[in-house]
């Protein structure tokens, strides 16, 4: 190892802090489309090994009770100022993975649940999960071409959503629309998490 000191390529500067947001919803609802619309990079794919914590399964001493599954996630990135970087992860759409989201949801600022009114039931597992986990979330109804336009109150009723949960219409292909959804989510998360009222 020669002249380690002079190898320094840059003065240590403060690294930004990363913040995780999740985009959940059924298969083919437009999660990656939404991520791509707002991301500053082309959506990337990573594979993560997730652990099923086997809740409710009796642990037998010496026997490994955990199950692991590898899931692929598409994600994008939005730099906000010098201090923070947002990462948006599209969670796996398959219902059988919903109980494995703990590792994904841990530390997340919040989640967008994308809904398709033609297949509203597809987002039930995500709604249940984030409600139970107390992760702040908003529901964004993706307006597909040709889909019957629903009244948002009807969707709220069909999903059994608490009146405090924001529900918005969006077009996952459009950056402005995706941006509005994220702003709604961050505002909702702020209201949920902050004890003090927002300063005027």
């Amino acid at each position: 190892m020669d002249s380690a000191r002079s190898d320094r390529v840059k003065a240590p500067k403060k690294l930004p802090t990363a913040i995780k947001l999740l985009v959940a919803g059924g298969f083919g609802v437009g999660k990656t489309t939404l991520v791509g619309a707002v991301s500053e990079i082309r959506p990337l794919r990573t594979e993560e090994v997730l652990t099923d914590l086997s809740v409710g399964v009796d642990d037998v001493a010496g026997v490994e009770a955990k199950n692991t599954t590898t899931v692929a996630m598409d994600f994008g990135r939005i730099s906000v100022g010098e201090e923070y970087v947002l990462y948006l992860f599209g969670t796996p759409g398959q219902e059988r993975f919903w109980f494995m989201w703990d590792e994904l949801a841990a530390g997340a600022l919040g989640a967008v649940i994308l809904a398709d009114t033609r297949r509203l039931a597809d987002c039930f597992p995500a709604v249940d999960y984030f409600e139970r986990r107390k992760t702040p979330f908003v529901v964004a109804v993706n307006c597909f071409d040709g889909a019957r336009t629903y009244d948002l109150d009807e969707v709220r009723l069909a999903l059994g959503l608490n009146p405090a949960i924001p529900i918005v219409l969006c077009d996952a292909r459009r950056r402005e629309s995706g941006k509005e959804v994220l702003i709604t989510l961050v505002q909702h998360s702020m209201e949920r998490n902050s004890k003090r009222p927002t300063p005027a």
């Binding site: 190892m1 993560e48 702003i183 961050v186 902050s194």
Partner: protein, 128 residues
């Protein structure tokens, strides 16, 4: 994997063996980093360059040092190098241990009451 294929020994060299065996060799069988936790969104940045002859570094280590000239998350490094996140964590742990990178871990969930952070994120999103 395929129940209709005979599990004959030649199968070790097919394309399915590659992505499993290669990362395992790269990390010399290790599954945990020697240093650091490396969340999927932990950010890494190179703080010194690494020559090809650097002792103890393999080509993937060197690729990470080159890649992280600007801060990148574990997930991004994994995607760019087409490696599992678990493998990248081990390699990043080596680089942290040897002083090639700095790491910034994300805030734990309990610290999410920071109004200043929310304002900064909202302002950043509105400015997009």
């Amino acid at each position: 994997m395929n129940p209709y294929e005979e599990p004959i020994e030649e199968k070790w060299h097919d394309e399915q063996a590659g992505p499993i065996v290669r990362p395992y060799v790269m990390t010399r069988g290790r599954t945990e980093p020697v240093r650091g936790d490396f969340n999927l969104i932990s950010l890494a940045v190179s703080v010194r360059s690494a020559g090809a002859m650097e002792v103890g570094l393999n080509p993937e280590h060197l690729a990470i040092v080159r890649l992280c000239q600007d801060p990148l998350s574990v997930a991004e490094v994994a995607a760019h190098l087409d490696l599992p996140a678990g493998t990248v964590r081990v390699l990043l742990g080596d680089l942290l241990d040897k002083g090639f990178i700095d790491v910034q871990d994300p805030q734990p969930e309990v610290d999410m009451h920071d109004l200043r952070m929310y304002e900064a994120v909202l302002n950043g999103l509105r400015a997009l």
